[in-house]
Structures are given as structure tokens and as C-alpha cells.
């Protein structure tokens, strides 16, 4: 190390000393907020899947607020959590029901994210509220997708409208909504085939479903729920962007949150696309659904344990 470097190092120590907060002098333990501390924080943030940009912004904020101070990591995390909770806060009413006539909900998302199972959960939620539910099996593409939703409809005792394998999904959706109107159902939930957001033609197909439903009920679909697999990493942002572009999603159902994945990408999605999370899926059964609550969700981002049910 050259002489100059030594002097520089000495100076920076002094600077740190000067920066020391008066409160820190009375602390018996804690750590200096230095580069190592910030790196560690960065790692914790990255591991939630919130993404590099959000993580860097958070680290910068912490750096300017705490640099050179002696603190506990837990204390800093509390500050971070407070910010994230405010960001993720949202209106209490998760689903906007139609003033009259059936409330139509279209459920979409990439392949295998949990759409069909989540529909079963939503149906259970509504029937528990005494509502009459109709399911529309508009995934006419995947092998046995209709059979899968049919099994759920039988288990839950709700009606289902289906079409031939390979038939036009929009026509099935149309019939499901028309049937809901006829029998005076309260809620009509449309299942759609999984599709990757980059598949232009399939996204067009989704907008068509949207349009066709709107012809029957101008305000419909009242809700477009994007199902997001909690294990998803940064691709979730692209999913939220593209699906929202194609069908104006109204909110996210974060499925599979019962594993060890934190689902932190919804933080980045909230920042960039603005979509709120409405529900979380926490298992494979019909009652494994919970309202999204920002506080426990954010707390769980930073502990090793799976989020509380």
C-alpha cells in the first residue's frame, strides 16, 4: 500500500468517526454500516426476487440514511419493511362485484402457474359467501384441461360450461357468460389456457375473449386476475407487463406461496406496472386461499420460514 493510500484510509476512518451518530455511542453491540454491511443487505434483498433495481434503490436509501453509523441489521430491515409495506398497501375490497348481473372474472397467466386450481379456490370463496358460481372452461387447448376444471366443479358443486377440445376459447367464454346471465348467477369465472406472454397470437386470442365477453356485458370482465407463480423470478415483470397490455389485468393472485419462494417479484411489479396483489395461494386444495396482506407478506420476505397462512 502506497503512502497516499494510507493517508486516504486514515482520513476515511476519521470521516466515519465524524459520521457516528450520538445514539451509537451508547450502543453495546451492532455493526458499522460499511460496504460489507451493504453487500449483505443487497444479498438479502436479491434473494427475495425483488430484482436488482429495487434492491439497489433500497441499498442506496439505507446507505444515505445510515452510512457510518453502528446499527443492527434487524433494525435496518425494519426500516426497509416499513417502506415496502407502504408500497404494497392496497384497497381492502379485493374483488369489485358488478352492481347487477353476474360479476365476470377472467383468469390468465403463463403455463402451469396455477390458474385452474386458483379458480377452484375463488369458486369456493364465493360459494361460501352464498353466491352462485358458474365456471367457463375456456382452456380448450391443453390435454385434459377441461376434465381438470370439471373435477373441481363437481367437488365444489358449481356449474360448468365447456366446449369441444380445440374449439374457439372465446365461444366457450361467451356461452359461459350468457349462461350465467340466464340463470342469474352471481359470479362467472373463466379459465384460460396457459400462454407465454411473448406469444403474440395467443395474447390476441386472450384479447378476443375479453372483447367477446364485453359484447354481452359492457363492463365485463369486471376483474382480470393474473395468476403468478411465487417461484417466478424477474420474468414476472414481463408477464405483468404483457398480460396487462393485452387484457388490462386488475390484480394478481400469487400462487404457490406455501413453498420457500418469497414471491418478491411482486414488489418490482408493483413499482413498474402498478398491479396490486389480491390473493395468495397457499396449497393445492380449494380452501388454500388467503387475502393478500402486505404486512405478513413483507415480513416473510426476510425470514427463512414460509409465510404464515
Amino acid at each position: 500500500m502506497g503512502l497516499f493510500d494510507k493517508i486516504k484510509q486514515g482520513l476515511s476512518k476519521t470521516r466515519q468517526l465524524l459520521n457516528t451518530d450520538i445514539r451509537d455511542l451508547f450502543r453495546s453491540e451492532g455493526r458499522l454500516v460499511d460496504q460489507a454491511f451493504l453487500d449483505e443487505l443487497f444479498e438479502l434483498l436479491i434473494k427475495t426476487d425483488m430484482g436488482v433495481k429495487s434492491a439497489e434503490e433500497t441499498v442506496e436509501a439505507v446507505q444515505s440514511a445510515f452510512r457510518g453509523r453502528v446499527v443492527q441489521m434487524a433494525e435496518v430491515l425494519e426500516e426497509v419493511k416499513k417502506k415496502l409495506k407502504a408500497l404494497m398497501a392496497q384497497p381492502a375490497e379485493p374483488i369489485r362485484h358488478a352492481a347487477s348481473g353476474p360479476t365476470v372474472i377472467v383468469v390468465c397467466g403463463v403455463n402451469g402457474c396455477g390458474k385452474t386450481t386458483s379458480i377452484a379456490k375463488l369458486a369456493r370463496l364465493f360459494t361460501d359467501q352464498g353466491k352462485r358460481v358458474v365456471l367457463g372452461a375456456a382452456d380448450t387447448f391443453r390435454a385434459a384441461a377441461v376434465d381438470q376444471l370439471t373435477v373441481w366443479s363437481q367437488r365444489l358443486g358449481v356449474e360448468i360450461v365447456t366446449g369441444q377440445a380445440g374449439s374457439d376459447p372465446a365461444s366457450v367464454a361467451h356461452r359461459a357468460v350468457a349462461h350465467s346471465q340466464e340463470i342469474g348467477a352471481d359470479v362467472c369465472i373463466i379459465d384460460t389456457a396457459g400462454r407465454l406472454q411473448t406469444q403474440y397470437n395467443l395474447m390476441q386470442e386472450l384479447s378476443k375473449i375479453h372483447r367477446v365477453i364485453g359484447k354481452l356485458i359492457p363492463q365485463a370482465p369486471h376483474e382480470v386476475v393474473l395468476v403468478l407463480d411465487a417461484t417466478t423470478g424477474q420474468n414476472g415483470i414481463s408477464q405483468a407487463q404483457h398480460f396487462t397490455e393485452a387484457v388490462q389485468c386488475t390484480g394478481i393472485l400469487l400462487a404457490k406461496l406455501d413453498g420457500t419462494a418469497k414471491g418478491g417479484v411482486v414488489v418490482a411489479i408493483r413499482q413498474s406496472v402498478g398491479l396490486p396483489v389480491k390473493y395468495v395461494g397457499v396449497g393445492e386444495q380449494a380452501d388454500d386461499l388467503a387475502l393478500f396482506e402486505p404486512d405478513p407478506f413483507v415480513d416473510a420476505l426476510f425470514d427463512g420460514a414460509p409465510p404464515p397462512r
Partner: protein, 491 residues
């Protein structure tokens, strides 16, 4: 596939390249950008850190700084380390007569059942007799799903509707396979969380009782940081023999490939590139690394072209080219040949530096363009196809009406054919390396001149682009063109 990682790394390395001489400090800056690209691509934090450590160690060394072309050196190092991390390859299913048992496992919805079908199809193509086993007794209609796939492929499926013990089902299936002379049994197990002790226990029991020859972990390429946790747990419970990475047909950055390889150490055998049962490809770390660095996946493309192109037809076309007899008929045949390779954007994505190009084409509905071009040629008489110069105004109108397009689109097609025929003529005289360059040049001029690219945006079904969208696409193309020129200069 891996496009975004490719873009991210590409821009990081371009930033380095632009500066000419490297210093230790701007090298660090570039390395930092590489790390950001990796994390944005969902490479797990520990795997990214390990990767960066290995790369930095070599990158800041004397050898690189003093090298004649330090940036090339660094690119080389990053490239090689990516290969090292994702390799070595082993695509073998390690089949052994008379009967081999493959078992697929993984988290819910990762693509196991579909992959069973894909593997089954691949085995049939290799002349083997597979049998699929419906060992998922949990998910509603899981058995039916596998049965539908089996029926589509003409492959027997062992299933017991109403059974409740997957271990028993698997054992009986193996007995049945022996009796019926099947050569490969593929077990489709239920999706499960790696933290579900009971279900993980059940998997180990199946493994113990049935003794599969190969156990594959099926993982979604969109998986984020959690990939390391699940892969580790499955590997501990089962001793995996391979990994299959699914859903790489989207824009997932696919960093999970690096993470899973890093924690399990087992080879990535195959990748899933679509919902259809023929969308299973061998995994190649060198090609993948090349792709990541913007060097394209030419080898994959060549391999696919070899499998799907009609070799006879191709030879014939080349012959005619050399003689300058390439007609619209040949053009038509070429179009359908290219179509066999798969969705156009997928094909383009495999060409070097074309990642951004496919992004730009996102809205352009290339498939529709292809169909329309084919339609126009089909509406011509054989004479017209042989000699497009015959096409005057009235013929043009007739052809347009027949194909359901505007007359000027017929014109554009003829123009494009001229350009293509010219390109082909030049190409037939070149070696493979020069050919690639010629194609790149062609696509570059196409990118700069969208009107002359494919027939104009006019879509029967899709929506038309708004002026704003068009402007955005144009800006993108211009930006891309500038980038290419810059890159060219810096070479």
C-alpha cells in the same frame, strides 16, 4: 431463449469494448455490469457470486490487461466460465436392455407430464418402445392428461383410475412393462414442494422400491432465486441424474440453468421449447454460452435445419440457384421449408445478434406474413411463377384478389423475390462463414428498411399498428442499426 441475459451481458461487454484500452477500474465496472446481468437473469446470488469470483480473478490479471485485445480476452473468459458452469454435457438417457426406468420429478406445474410425452415421442423416434406411467394420483385429471398424450402419440399408458398409492402403481406398471415387452418406462410423478416432508418421503420410497435408472428434475426456466432451494432438496432426497429445463420458448432469461447446475452438479440434459410434443431439444452449454454472449445459436439451427429441411429439395434449389433458375416456385418451397423450422421468431432468435430483432418483430406477426406470401404465390399461374416479369397491372389485380391482399403487396413480393434471388445467387458461391455474414447483412438492411422487409403490415385478424406503435418500432430499429454500426466500428 436466454435473450435477455444475452442482451444484458451484451451491453455490459459493449460498454467495455467501446473504451478500447482496459484499466483495472473500468474492468471492475464492466464486471459489475456482468454481475447485474446475471442477477437480472435470475442466476441465484451464490452462483452469481461464485461465477464473478472466478471471472474477476482471471480478468484483473496481468495477462488480460496487457493483452493486445483485452476486451476480447474478457469476453473469452466470461464465455468459457459460462460453459464451465453449465457443462459438461451428457444427453444420454443411459438406456440398458431389456428395460430402463426413467422417473420425472419436480415442483407443481413445472412441466413433468408434458415432458413425459415429449420424451416418449423422442424414444419412439429412436425406435424404442416406451410406456408412460400415471403416478400422479393427486392432481385432478392428471391421469387423463397423460392418457390423452399417450393416445396422441400412440404410446401405451399404464394407469389405475381410483388408485391411491403411487408406489404400488409404479411397481405394477413395471411388471406390466416387462410382460408387454416395453423397453423404457417413464414415471410421471405428482408435483410437490421440496418442503413437504411426507411427499418427499413418498418419492424416496418410489425410488427405493422401483429403482429407476435415471431420475430427472424438471424445472421451469422462469424460476427465480428459489431454484437453488428446490433443486438442492430434490437432489438430496433422490440423487438426481439430470435436469430438464422447460418453457424456454418465452423471454425467460433462464438463469435458473446456472443455479440448478451449480447446486446439483448433474448435467442439464434437455430443454423444453414449447407446449407441443416435439418441442424438446438437447441442451448445449457451449451454444447456450455463445447465445448468451450474442454469438448466436447457429449450431442448433443447422442441426434443426438438417432434421427438418428436405435435403433433396434443398439440393435441387441450390442447383437451380447456381444456374440462375431460381423461380417463385422455388421461393414458395423455401418459405414452407423455413416454416418447418418453427415459429419465425424462434428461428431468428438463434441467429447471432438477432435477439433484439425478434423483440422488434414481436408485433409484426411474421407468421401471418409468411402465410400471406404463400397465398400470393399460390394465386399465380405457373407461367407467372416461372417469370414474374409477366406480372402487369391487370394480372397483379387478379392475383391480389385471389390471395385477398392489396395489389401493391403483390408488387412488394416480387421485389422481395428479386432481392432474395440475388442473395441466393451470391450465397451459392460462398462458403458457410461468408454465408452467415451475407444473411446478417441482408437482415441488417432489412431492419433498416422495414417497408422492404416483409409484405406490409396488413392483417386479417390481428390489430393494425397505431402510428405511435409504428414510430416506436421504427425508433427501435434505428437504434439497433446504430448499435450495429458502432459495433462494426469497434471491431
Amino acid at each position: 431463449m436466454f435473450e435477455s441475459l444475452q442482451e444484458g451481458l451484451g451491453s455490459a461487454l459493449r460498454a467495455l469494448r467501446g473504451r478500447g484500452k482496459l484499466t483495472e477500474s473500468n474492468m471492475r465496472e464492466g464486471l459489475r455490469a456482468v454481475q447485474t446481468a446475471l442477477l437480472e437473469a435470475d442466476v441465484s446470488f451464490p452462483a452469481a457470486r461464485e461465477f464473478m469470483a472466478r471471472v474477476s480473478e482471471q480478468a484483473v490479471g496481468e495477462r488480460v490487461l496487457k493483452a493486445l485485445n483485452p476486451t476480447q480476452q474478457l469476453v473469452g473468459i466470461v464465455h468459457q466460465e459460462l460453459i464451465n458452469l453449465m457443462g459438461p454435457v451428457d444427453h444420454s438417457l443411459r438406456l440398458k436392455p431389456p428395460l430402463s426406468i426413467l422417473m420425472l420429478c419436480g415442483l407443481q406445474g413445472s412441466g413433468k407430464t408434458t415432458t413425459c410425452g415429449k420424451l416418449g415421442r423422442m424414444l419412439v423416434q429412436r425406435g424404442k418402445k416406451p410406456m408412460l406411467v400415471a403416478a400422479d394420483l393427486q392432481r385432478p385429471a392428471a391421469i387423463t392428461q397423460l392418457e390423452v398424450l399417450g393416445e396422441r402419440l400412440g404410446i401405451p399408458v399404464y394407469a389405475e383410475h381410483g388408485a391411491s398409492d403411487p408406489v404400488a402403481v409404479c411397481r405394477k406398471a413395471v411388471d406390466e412393462a416387462r410382460r408387454s415387452g416395453a423397453e423404457v418406462v417413464i414415471l410421471d410423478t405428482a408435483g410437490r414442494l421440496h418442503v413437504d416432508e411426507q411427499l418427499m418421503q413418498q418419492l424416496s420410497t418410489i425410488e427405493r422400491r422401483v429403482q429407476p435408472d435415471q431420475v430427472y428434475f424438471v424445472v421451469d426456466s422462469m424460476t427465480g432465486q428459489d431454484a437453488v432451494n428446490s433443486a438442492k432438496a430434490f437432489n438430496e432426497a433422490l440423487e438426481l441424474d439430470g435436469v430438464i429445463l422447460t418453457k424456454l420458448d418465452g423471454d425467460a432469461r433462464g438463469g435458473a440453468a446456472l443455479s440448478v447446475k451449480a447446486v446439483t452438479g448433474v448435467p442439464i440434459k434437455f430443454i423444453g421449447t414449447g407446449e407441443h410434443l416435439d418441442s424438446l431439444e438437447e441442451f448445449h452449454p457451449d451454444r447456450m454460452a455463445g447465445r448468451i454472449l450474442g454469438m448466436g445459436d447457429i449450431l442448433s439451427l443447422v442441426e434443426q435445419a438438417h432434421e427438418k429441411f428436405d435435403q433433396e429439395e434443398a439440393k435441387l434449389a441450390e442447383e437451380r440457384l447456381r444456374k440462375g433458375e431460381f423461380t417463385l416456385d422455388d421461393f414458395r418451397k423455401q418459405l414452407s421449408q423455413v416454416k418447418k423450422l418453427g415459429p419465425l421468431n424462434k428461428v431468428l432468435g438463434m441467429l447471432p445478434g438477432m435477439g433484439q430483432m425478434t423483440e422488434m418483430m414481436g408485433n409484426a406477426d411474421a407468421e401471418g406474413d409468411f402465410r400471406r406470401l404463400g397465398g400470393i404465390i399460390d394465386s399465380m399461374t405457373p407461367q407467372e411463377r416461372g417469370n414474374p416479369k409477366l406480372i402487369d397491372q391487370s394480372r397483379r389485380r387478379r392475383i391480389a384478389a385471389g390471395a385477398g391482399v392489396e395489389p401493391h403487396e403483390v408488387n412488394e413480393l416480387v421485389k422481395q423475390y428479386d432481392g432474395m434471388a440475388d442473395l441466393m445467387k451470391r450465397m451459392s458461391k460462398l462458403g458457410i462463414r461468408e454465408r452467415m455474414k451475407a444473411v446478417q447483412e441482408f437482415s441488417r438492411s432489412a431492419a433498416a428498411n422495414p417497408g422492404g422487409r416483409l409484405v406490409k403490415q396488413k392483417q386479417g385478424t390481428g390489430k393494425r399498428l397505431t402510428p405511435k406503435e409504428k414510430a416506436k418500432l421504427r425508433r427501435l430499429r434505428e437504434k439497433e442499426e446504430r448499435r450495429r454500426r458502432r459495433q462494426e466500428r469497434n471491431k
